[in-house]
């Protein structure tokens, strides 16, 4: 015990989280311009080898109800907090629309009711966070493969981009995030995987705000940051370069790998 330590001091978990990664600091080697591309060159190899073994259709393990975590940890944005989102939440998301556009033959605009009427899948799966922890929960949602089949992707479509309602940047310094909305992308293989869902229920209940109400992505072969919450617009594209920071997702633009299978 150090002097002055009292038991009233509050516990702070050592979980520094992913939000503090801007502290590049004094690591001179980490700032060498050649380093990042060199280290990043392993990503393509990793992706190719993992896909080689997993194929396009291998399923993530599904668990039983007895395995469900008593409290599913919520991470990242816990409440988008914008006026627009609050208004939707107050009306129980009855006006929420999910659009599917870009490189598709038939653009869609789906209400939650319409989404709930599409072929649904319920799966009890393990959620793996990039930070290292895991949680098991039961997800129900519409299969992305079916939604994409309705929209009929054009031949050049290579990625599915998800635009979300949670802002990640506080641009006017009032302590509330108001811009730079979260986005993510999956390739066509991962997006049409049978366990990839637009999920609207967790453990039998409608999704709550902390877990991504009204709709979030489940992509069970990927880490948590590849499974965006608060999904609004889905756009099919042939390249990620001109979107956001050009790396295919909010965290990817901060330096994380696009391939989230590891």
């Amino acid at each position: 015990m150090r002097d002055g330590a009292t038991r009233r001091g509050f516990l702070m978990r050592g979980f520094a989280g992913v939000a503090t990664l801007a502290l590049a600091g004094c690591d001179s080697i980490s700032q060498q311009p050649w380093l990042d591309p060199l280290l990043r060159s392993a990503e393509a190899l990793t992706k190719r080898v993992q896909r080689l073994f997993a194929g396009d259709h291998a399923l993530a393990q599904e668990f039983t109800k007895a395995d469900i975590a008593p409290s599913f940890r919520a991470n990242g944005t816990l409440d988008p907090g914008t006026q627009e989102y609050r208004a939707h939440a107050q009306k129980n998301f009855t006006d929420w629309r999910i659009t599917v556009g870009g490189l598709v033959e038939h653009p869609l605009s789906l209400s939650l009711d319409q989404l709930r009427k599409l072929p649904a899948r319920t799966q009890i799966t393990r959620h793996d966070c990039v930070e290292g922890w895991s949680c098991i929960g039961e997800w129900t949602g519409a299969q992305m493969a079916h939604i994409l089949a309705l929209a009929q992707p054009k031949e050049q479509a290579r990625y599915v981009v998800f635009y979300c309602a949670d802002p990640m940047t506080d641009s006017d310094g009032d302590g509330i995030n108001d811009s730079n909305f979260y986005y993510e992308s999956l390739d066509m293989v991962e997006a049409t995987h049978p366990q990839t869902l637009l999920a609207y229920r967790l453990n039998g209940q409608d999704l709550d705000i902390a877990h991504g109400a009204p709709v979030r992505v489940r992509a069970e072969r990927q880490l948590g940051y590849k499974q965006p919450k608060y999904v609004k617009d889905i756009v099919l594209v042939d390249s990620l370069e001109k979107i956001g920071g050009g790396k295919g997702g909010y965290w990817e633009d901060q330096g994380y790998n696009w391939w989230g299978g590891i």
Binding site: M1, R2, G4, A5, T6, G9, L11, M12, R13, G14, F15, A16, G17, V18, T20, L21, L23, A24, G25, C26, D27, S30, L39, R40, S41, A42, E43, L45, T46, Q50, R51, F53, A54, G55, A58, L59, A60, Q61, F63, D67, R126, D128, V130, E131, G132, W133, S134, C135, I136, E220, R221, Q222, L223, W251, Q254, G255, Y256, N257, G261, I262
Partner: protein, 304 residues
């Protein structure tokens, strides 16, 4: 122990400085007057893969600690029981605003301020599992830690496969590394020799002793594959390709815990290895791992 009390040897230089020089070169139980012969000890592939591994494992360990720091707790099973970690590193804030680092293992709690849970980065107290000097990069930066780890993981596997293939092909495994039954039955004697710092001389010095065979075999052929497999088990994509992996290790979180234990087994091996290198002749050992050539004392020691 004083050198002067030892039996006089016509060839041996005397005095403490000569003893120290001889210790640095040939180790603790060397008699500087004994005749020595050259012995070619390490083939080229052993030397190259050894030093490659030194670099690769250093990066793997330090970037691994960076990744661990993103969630500085370990669990058993398929998922994280956040209220009951096997191990955790947390920080408490004192009344004056300073931080106290606490490491929990099972039901034990240790004050590890400055080392684990809370330590200083550029003069600032921060909440972090392992301290800045132990991680790559030094600051909390998970994305870059993962880039380092997953690049060097390929090098680690490639280096291991090259070593193992050549070790089997050349007979190095069968001849030098494969443990014998007598290594286990002779373990108490071998430990006694090591404790008295009696290292083999003459013919016996031309092969690894029982403790070396058991240790090198365990580190290279058990902990090595285990750390790779538990690492792969943490990949959600690979778990779909190889569902037996999480089953084998009792779940993804168990695999993460075993991965961590393997890493610290490597670290423990490293420290013991360095101590043994120093005690049995720092320069002679390092030179043999660079040039392949090793000097063996012919008499005066233990001869098997």
């Amino acid at each position: 122990m004083t050198i002067a009390s030892e039996p006089a040897n016509d060839h041996a230089p005397r005095g403490p400085w000569a003893w120290i020089a001889n210790f640095l070169k040939y180790g603790a139980n060397s008699d500087s007057g004994d005749p020595k012969v050259w012995f070619f000890r390490h083939p080229l592939f052993v030397r190259i893969t050894h030093w490659t591994n030194v670099i690769v494992l250093t990066v793997m360990l330090m970037s691994g600690l960076q990744i661990f720091n993103a969630h500085s707790a370990l669990y058993w099973g398929y998922q994280s029981d956040f209220d009951h970690p096997l191990l955790s590193m947390v920080a408490m804030q004192n009344n004056d605003g300073s931080l106290k680092g606490i490491t929990q293992i099972g039901s034990w709690h240790f004050d590890t301020t400055g080392w684990l849970g809370a330590s200083q980065v550029n003069g600032q107290w921060v909440v972090r599992g392992f301290p800045s000097w132990a991680t790559i990069p030094g600051t909390q930066w998970l994305a870059l830690g993962r880039l380092w780890h997953f690049f060097f993981a390929w090098l680690f596997v490639a280096n291991g496969v090259i070593f193992a293939s050549l070790a089997f092909y050349s007979g190095h495994f069968r001849r030098d590394l494969k443990p014998k039954t007598s290594d286990i039955t002779g373990l108490p004697t071998e430990i006694a020799h090591h404790a008295r710092l009696q290292f083999p001389k003459g013919e016996a010095a031309k092969s690894y002793n029982g403790i070396q065979r058991l240790t090198y075999f365990t580190v290279i052929f058990i902990i090595g594959p285990l750390i790779v497999l538990t690492g792969l088990t943490m990949s959600p994509t690979l778990d779909t390709a190889f569902p037996f992996l999480p089953w084998l290790f009792g779940g993804r979180q168990s695999a993460r815990t075993i991965h961590f234990l393997c890493a610290f087994s490597f670290l423990l091996f490293f420290f013991v290895h360095i101590v043994m290198v120093v005690l049995s002749g720092t320069w002679n050992n390092i030179r043999s791992m660079i040039t392949g050539n090793y000097e063996i004392e012919q008499t005066g020691g233990r001869d098997a």
